[in-house]
């Protein structure tokens, strides 16, 4: 019983940064922009988030620092790819390389420092319910926020006019422009939202997951978030399932190694990625018609005036 609860708690904690980063990237990609710099924005978010929390002693301020850092990084990306119409793949990769270096620089002075991690919810009575109490009522604020974020994004994309316009930009930017929508402005905002989410997801790691900062602590989570967006076929609902599945596989492979299951640990670590590949193959085989990816994804748009 204790172990099951511990595993579920660990899965939720491991999944949350993936879910937040992937939700942001989903919005970015739905507008037609492919930002491969998620890993870079996350790692800078982690460094700045830790710095903010350490300097002010407030987790909340730390999270804001992380969001600001991710947004600034994405703004640089938007300037290059939308303002100057540079290739999105190359810029995104460069952004990640830049982010890794930048975070090392910002975080250098904070390595070895500790902060008090984010508090967990505690409602006497409810939180003490065996098995489900701590899972449902004993999480940190990030976990609840991440779920609210996905619901909010779903509602925005499918129930609001602005969401419809954003999806339209991702499907066909020439048509959207012809109808008079400001494609580049909408995309810039979508990219900034993606950056803010990536920064927050990065900040989650030193603020709630482990109470200290180490260089390179995102450890490829940004890439998993990118894979998750594809895995979800650009739908928020499937994103939640995918993120928890990934978190679960990550945690289970750790436990499996601990139990001494006779499978090489490298293979177990590769499982999440293998799962992505398999799901992608299944999705593309099952597809009967309409393409799942936003049709204008990753293409450069220069409006004629």
């Amino acid at each position: 019983m204790e172990l099951v609860e511990a595993i579920i708690l660990a899965v939720l904690a491991a999944s949350t940064p993936l879910l937040i980063a992937a939700t942001g990237e989903l919005v970015t990609e739905r507008s037609g922009v492919l930002n491969l710099g998620v890993e870079g924005m996350m790692i800078v978010g982690a460094a700045c988030g830790f710095a903010g929390a350490w300097l002010t002693g407030s987790i909340f301020v730390g999270a804001l620092f992380g969001i600001a850092a991710g947004t600034l990084m994405s703004l640089a990306f938007a300037l290059m790819t939308l303002g100057l119409a540079v290739n999105q793949v190359a810029t995104g990769l460069a952004l990640t390389i830049l982010g890794v270096g930048l975070s090392g620089l910002i975080g250098a002075g904070f390595v070895g420092e500790r902060i008090t991690p984010a508090l967990h919810l505690n409602i006497p009575g409810l939180t003490d319910i065996p098995l489900v109490g701590r899972v449902l009522f004993g999480e940190d604020g990030f976990v609840y926020f991440s779920l609210a974020l996905v619901v909010g994004v779903w509602w925005f994309l499918y129930r609001t006019r602005t969401g419809l316009i954003l999806r339209a930009c991702g499907d066909n930017h020439v048509s959207a422009h012809a109808l008079g929508y400001p494609v580049l402005r909408i995309r810039t905002i979508a990219v900034m939202f993606g950056g803010a989410c990536a920064g927050l997801a990065g900040a989650y790691l030193p603020l709630a997951y482990t109470p200290f900062f180490i260089p390179g602590m995102t450890a490829g989570r940004g890439w998993i978030a990118l894979a998750l967006v594809v895995f979800s076929s650009w739908r928020p609902g499937r994103l939640v399932v995918g993120a928890y599945l990934f978190g679960a596989v990550t945690i289970l492979q750790l436990h499996a190694q601990g139990w001494g299951v006779g499978i090489p640990s490298q293979f177990m670590s590769a499982l999440p990625y293998l799962a992505t590949v398999i799901v992608l193959v299944l999705l593309s085989r099952a597809r009967t018609g309409g393409s799942t990816a936003p049709a204008a994804l990753g293409t450069v748009f220069v409006p004629d005036r």
Binding site: R161, L164, I165, R167, A168, D171, N172, V174, S175, A176, H177, A178, L179, G180, Y181, R287, G289, G290, S291, P294, A295, D304, R305
Partner: protein, 529 residues
């Protein structure tokens, strides 16, 4: 947006006395760098008028309507709406003033539903539910049936255009711009569209109608303005002109008549397709279903049909871009070739000209000589022991240039720097100079100016006269009538039995293009012909 009472009175037709036009442009000019896309254009559009805008590709029609719709800002000149000069900040302002537009390349979103597509074209002041109800009402009123819940990629070209028209009509426009609306329709679908347009006119609206099809313009339009090279040439009454006189004004000279050599002899079968079926290669593709035909030397077979009915898939199967499992389904020069690669088919004497000039027919950023090599390397002596004979590739470019009057800035420019017509002349020339036994060509004069189109059609006729078998896929029925000996129609991956061109009336072809079958007797007769 409430359906405000229309203030226009249909009885003010014709005379225009004592009032100002609905829309007037004065000296409208649009400059791109040194290039004048529109040079001081004056045009008046009155209520209750269908006004044609004619001109060749590049004459400035699209630029003019984009400026009127607020998509681009004019460099100089004025637009007056109901007598008042206006500056349009963008399409949404144009729409709110009562200007609607139906685009040539539909401005639709494939992965969104019909209702969502319509909502995007409106200003969003009503709820989605109210909008859907009004959509149903408008589509019923004008006889343009639509299912609001379907996603656009599932719809036919004709249905897609209906969405565009309904979307424009839902804004209750006083002035509607249609950019080549019939280019993708069957003759019957076009007739239905004309009924709607006549009705809109009777309601007191004005319509600006862009088209290449002169007969259609003569039939439908009250006024015609002709543009050439960015300048206005003339405004006239098209009913008092002939198609030839309109064409002269568009081109600025006589167009060479295409002449078929008398007494063309058909010889042995050179391209035979036997019961070819092929699953589509991509998500929205069409399945080829039991396609059979026989094409003899000296003969031109035309394939008509609305775009997206399997023409691209047939071209890919014939050219070898997609292989068939059964070699016997495609026979070139008496040899089973269904399993052969593109190069192997070229070695048998086949040549292919795809629809897309840039990216499919040529590599846009490569020089013409390199592009000549790309299709000629196997069978034209341009490669010796694995090395390119640069002199030979350049000679091919020179020969194509001379024979087909390709106009270009230097001897060997990049393919992308040529105009559409000149590049197409080069591509067709490149293939014809290889003396192919079989030429498969798709949309040979799509987006090509009238002069170049005449050169290309003449070249295809001459090639057939010289004994080659030519297969032409085209959406332009007039073109097929001009050059083909027989015409077959593609619909949903099926190919109809070919009709002799003399018997292939527009009506019969239109029925086949819409998926109907001809009377069994008639079809049997046509096969025998």
């Amino acid at each position: 947006m409430q359906a405000h009472q229309r203030m226009l009175d249909p009885t003010t037709n014709g005379l225009h006395s004592g009032e100002s036009p609905l829309l007037r442009t004065i000296g409208l000019t649009k400059r791109y760098g040194d290039f004048l896309a529109n040079d001081a254009i004056d045009i008046d559009i009155w209520p209750t008028e269908i006004h044609a805008l004619l001109g060749e590709n590049g004459a400035g029609k699209s630029t003019l309507v984009k400026a009127i719709y607020g998509l681009i800002q004019p460099s100089a000149g004025e637009i007056c709406w109901k007598g008042q000069p206006i500056v349009l900040s963008g399409p949404s302002e144009a729409r709110s003033r009562g200007i609607g537009m139906v685009f040539q390349h539909f401005s639709l979103f494939d992965n969104l539903t019909v209702a969502e597509n319509v909502a995007l074209g409106l200003d969003g002041k009503e709820s989605f539910k109210d909008m859907s109800a009004r959509l149903e009402q408008v589509s019923k009123t004008y006889g343009l049936p639509l299912d609001p819940k379907r996603e656009v990629w599932q719809l036919s070209v004709g249905e897609r255009q209906r969405i565009e028209i309904v979307r424009a009509l839902m804004q209750d426009p006083q002035f509607l711009i249609l950019d080549e609306p019939t280019a993708v329709l069957t003759p019957q679908e076009a007739d239905q569209l004309f009924v709607v347009l006549e009705r809109l006119k009777a309601e007191g609206r004005a319509i600006l109608y862009i088209s290449h099809k002169l007969e259609e313009v003569k039939r439908l339009c009250d006024t015609a303005t002709i543009l050439r090279g960015g300048k206005k040439v003339e405004t006239c009454n098209p009913r008092l002109e002939t198609a030839a006189s309109l064409a002269r004004m568009m081109v600025g000279g006589e167009i060479k008549q295409v002449k078929a050599a008398a007494g063309r002899q058909t010889t042995v079968p050179r391209l035979v397709v036997n019961d070819l079926s092929l699953a589509p290669g991509e998500a929205h593709g069409v399945r080829l279903e039991h396609i059979s035909f026989e094409l003899k030397g000296g003969e031109i077979l035309g394939i008509a049909g609305v775009a997206g009915n399997g023409q691209d898939e047939l071209f890919a199967a014939l050219s070898g871009e997609r292989l068939s499992k059964d070699p016997g389904t495609i026979v070139i020069e008496g040899l089973a070739a269904g399993h052969l690669s593109i190069t192997q088919r070229r070695k048998l004497g086949a040549a292919f000209v795809p629809e897309e000039r840039l990216g499919h027919g040529t590599a846009p950023r490569m020089k013409l000589s390199e592009n000549a090599l790309l299709t000629g390397h196997a069978a034209s002596g341009m490669v010796h022991h694995g090395f390119i004979d640069t002199a030979a590739t350049l000679k091919t470019v020179d020969r194509a240039t001379e024979t087909f009057d390709v106009r270009k800035a230097k001897r060997d420019p990049e393919a992308a720097s040529l105009s559409g017509g000149n590049l197409q002349k080069f591509i067709v020339g490149r293939e014809i100079l290889r003396n192919p036994a079989v030429l498969v060509v798709s949309q040979p004069t799509w987006g090509v100016d009238a002069g170049a189109a005449a050169v290309i059609r003449q070249a295809l006729l001459d090639l057939a006269t010289a004994g080659a078998a030519v297969l032409v896929t085209s959406q332009d029925l007039d073109e097929l009538a001009e050059i083909a000996d027989r015409i077959a129609v593609m619909f949903h991956g099926h190919l109809s039995a070919p009709l002799a061109t003399s018997e292939a009336t527009r009506e019969k072809l239109g029925l086949l293009m819409g998926g109907s079958t001809l009377e069994p007797k008639e079809a049997a007769h046509a096969v025998g012909a």
